[in-house]
């Protein structure tokens, strides 16, 4: 009996000590795909987030408290993403969340944000719907497809594009990209041909590619994550496709494409949201160099930088909002997001209002770059 009481006492002490420690930190929820088809990308973002949290804590934290990331895996599955959001809010009591990588994952989480009135910083998703559906808890730092398309617009006349086919991942991200880019191209008097889709887990796209090969379009625009993109490039090469390939979405990891698709990646053009190959040419060279240096120091592979910088920028933006809010409470953080001005790795992060009046979401407008893979190297074409 006495031993039982001793154990119970120890357990109670551990619980109390645990809460005591917890009170000294500010929790930030992180809802990312760490398993499933987007595991690689989600892991990159989380590792970027960790670098930001460590950097913030080394400088004394936020509001005198250390930042603590509560990282949960949404399994690349929208249902799980919604459950993770709920768990982070109700069990971990986080006042703010970063997530959820994919558009479908983010969209599934959004009703939960409304329900519990907790803000979420969206670091990667591109679907336009996220900021236009009237969810005032959404603040996005990644470019929606329409911003990417608008950034691409002045480059179009300098390229030889007459007719475009699309091959996109069959979810909100891919279909949204085909729609936004299609609209922009039609405005430039460029024809839009086929719009083909592929399941997010699909490994064989040769049927779609055979159809696209037979079309009279000169350009193929592809939207998906790096793994599936590798397969598309390899299978297009195997079919002897000679069309110009342009990819969108910012999750292409060009160095990984070069390593894994080999010669099939040559000649392909990519719309990227961060160009770490020349840190001096980025909008914020000092921070970019620090981040790339820290990334390498931790033994992560360089190709991940184009994805992980979003996790880094996301957590820094959240920390800035908490600092401005003066307290780690959801409503105060939500209000403070409107006033942040963070020097992001890809331009200044400031939120503009988007969506129906009265319940606008925040959208920051980052830079978009056009890069090309030439002879196994990333080059920035001059135009």
């Amino acid at each position: 009996m006495s031993r039982f009481r001793l154990l119970a006492g120890a357990a109670a002490f551990a619980v109390l000590a645990g809460t005591a420690v917890a009170q000294e930190t500010i929790k930030i929820g992180v809802n990312e795909p760490l398993t499933g088809p987007f595991a690689a990308s989600g892991t990159y973002v989380v590792n970027g987030a960790r670098i930001a949290a460590d950097e913030i804590n080394a400088k004394g934290g936020v509001l005198g408290k250390k930042v603590e990331l509560v990282i949960e895996d949404n399994k690349s599955n929208p249902t799980e993403a919604a459950a993770v959001t709920e768990k982070l809010v109700t069990r971990d009591k986080v006042p703010v969340i970063m997530g959820a990588w994919g558009s479908s994952l983010t969209l599934a989480s959004m009703p939960k944000l409304m329900e519990y009135q907790v803000p979420m910083l969206v670091e990667t998703s591109s679907s336009g719907k996220i900021t236009t559906s009237g969810n005032p808890y959404i603040f996005r730092i990644s470019p929606p497809s329409s911003v990417e398309a608008a950034a691409f617009k002045p480059m179009v006349p300098k390229m030889t594009i007459k007719k475009v086919d699309f091959l996109v991942i069959n979810n909100d991200w891919g279909r949204g990209a085909a729609e936004d880019f299609g609209k922009m191209l039609k405005g430039e008097n460029i024809q839009v041909g086929l719009v083909e889709t592929m399941d997010q887990a699909a490994q064989d796209m040769s049927a779609q590619l055979a159809k696209i090969k037979a079309s009279d379009a000169d350009t193929l625009m592809v939207t998906t994550a790096v793994e599936q993109l590798t397969l598309v490039l390899k299978q297009a090469a195997a079919l002897g496709m000679k069309k110009q390939i342009i990819t969108t979405g910012g999750s292409q990891n060009p160095d990984q494409l070069i390593a894994q698709a080999g010669t099939a990646a040559n000649g392909t053009i990519h719309l990227a949201t961060f160009a770490p190959w020349q840190p001096d040419a980025t909008p914020n060279p000092q921070a970019a160099k620090y981040f790339i240096g820290e990334w390498k120091k931790r033994g992560f592979e360089f190709p991940g930088v184009t994805e992980s910088f979003r996790g880094y920028d996301g957590i820094r933006t959240i920390a800035a909002a908490i600092q401005k809010a003066g307290k780690a409470e959801p409503e105060a953080i939500r209000a403070a997001f409107w006033d942040v001005d963070v020097k992001g790795l890809n331009g200044d992060i400031k939120f503009q209002k988007q969506g129906p009046a009265g319940k606008e979401s925040g959208q920051s407008v980052p830079n978009v770059y056009l890069i090309k893979i030439d002879d196994g190297k990333v080059v920035v074409p001059t135009m």
Binding site: L34, T35, G36, P37, A39, A40, G42, T43, N170, E196, T197, M198, D199, A201, A202, Q203, D204, S206, A207, Q208, A210, K211, K213, A214, V226, E227, T230, L231, K234, A237, A238, L239, G240, Q256, A259, Q260, G262, T263, A264, E301, G304
Partner: protein, 290 residues
């Protein structure tokens, strides 16, 4: 017309792969009646094994394939001995739950060991495709097709023409009688599961380099394998082979001429049709009862 010919070429290439996935599972699911959720994970295991041998140890790709098949044989044997042997006589649901657990453990172990970033394996085959008239295919995929047909033929002969095959068929038709005839029934269970597993590993070893290798690659492979087995009729090697090619044809023509959004649905529509019209599968023979 040239597009159609390309679709047919793609069907042959993809069908060979599907058939290989199907025959491994038809041995385990069809003949042994074990709902084997680890099939996709053995496929993944074969792919990572080739990656290990080629990219980490630096050995030849052609050598890596038989080594991976052997490793799959051993792993399958271990799974049977550790997980299925104690479950002998348990009902199908209990075994199914154990296999789901095994699948989750295997998939997460793969991610723990190799990380979530996909791996690729370089092969000795040229990157430029083989072009015959309007049709273009990669040399690697032609090699995969040839190897798949070879393995299918070898399995067919093993099950239908050898003494071991006869013992396998006898065991799963009537375990007690087979046992009375001197068949080592326990060993046959282990051997059948190991052979089925080695075929999954073979498919992974051949296809990993053609695709990219990632911890979740087995999910879709497993799903297609079950579809093929049901399409072809449980336990029927010829059925699984033809089923693989039918599924590939449905996907190719479905995506090419109907809608790519429904590519993966095409195969399942056919399966629903088969289950409605001929529930035992397209090529099932009448089963002996008693």
């Amino acid at each position: 017309m040239s597009e159609f010919l390309q679709h047919i070429a793609n069907t042959l290439i993809l069908g060979g792969t599907y058939a290989l996935l199907g025959i491994g599972l038809t041995l385990i699911f069809g003949i042994m009646k074990v709902v084997n959720f680890t099939h996709g994970e053995l496929y993944t295991f074969g792919a990572y094994f080739v990656f290990l041998v080629v990219s980490v140890l630096g050995l030849n790709f052609l050598l890596a394939i038989p080594v991976a098949i052997l490793a799959g044989l051993l792993l399958g044997g271990v799974i049977e001995l550790l997980l299925l042997r104690p479950m002998r006589g348990a009902d199908i649901d209990t075994t199914m739950l154990v296999m789901i657990g095994a699948m989750i453990v295997m998939q997460n172990s793969e991610q723990l060991v190799w990380g979530g970033v996909a791996k690729s394996v370089s092969t000795p085959f040229p990157e430029t495709p083989l072009v015959i008239g309007p049709v273009s295919v990669s040399y690697l995929r032609v090699f995969v097709l040839a190897m798949a047909l070879l393995l299918i033929a070898a399995t067919y002969i093993l099950i239908n023409r050898t003494k071991l095959g006869k013992a396998v068929r006898a065991t799963f038709q009537d375990r007690d009688t087979a046992s009375l005839m001197g068949v080592n029934v326990q060993a046959i269970y282990t051997a059948t599961f190991a052979i089925g597993s080695s075929l999954a590993a073979a498919a992974g070893a051949l296809l990993g380099p053609a695709y990219v290798i990632s911890p979740h690659m087995g999910d879709i492979a497993s799903l297609k394998a079950f579809a093929i087995v049901i399409l072809g009729g449980l336990g029927n090697i010829t059925g699984a082979t033809i089923g693989g090619f039918i599924l590939a044809l449905a996907e190719e023509l479905g995506a090419g001429y109907v809608s790519s959004g429904y590519r993966d649905a095409m195969g399942f529509l056919i399966i629903i049709a088969v289950l409605l019209i001929k529930p035992t599968g397209l090529f099932a023979r009448a089963e002996r009862i008693g």
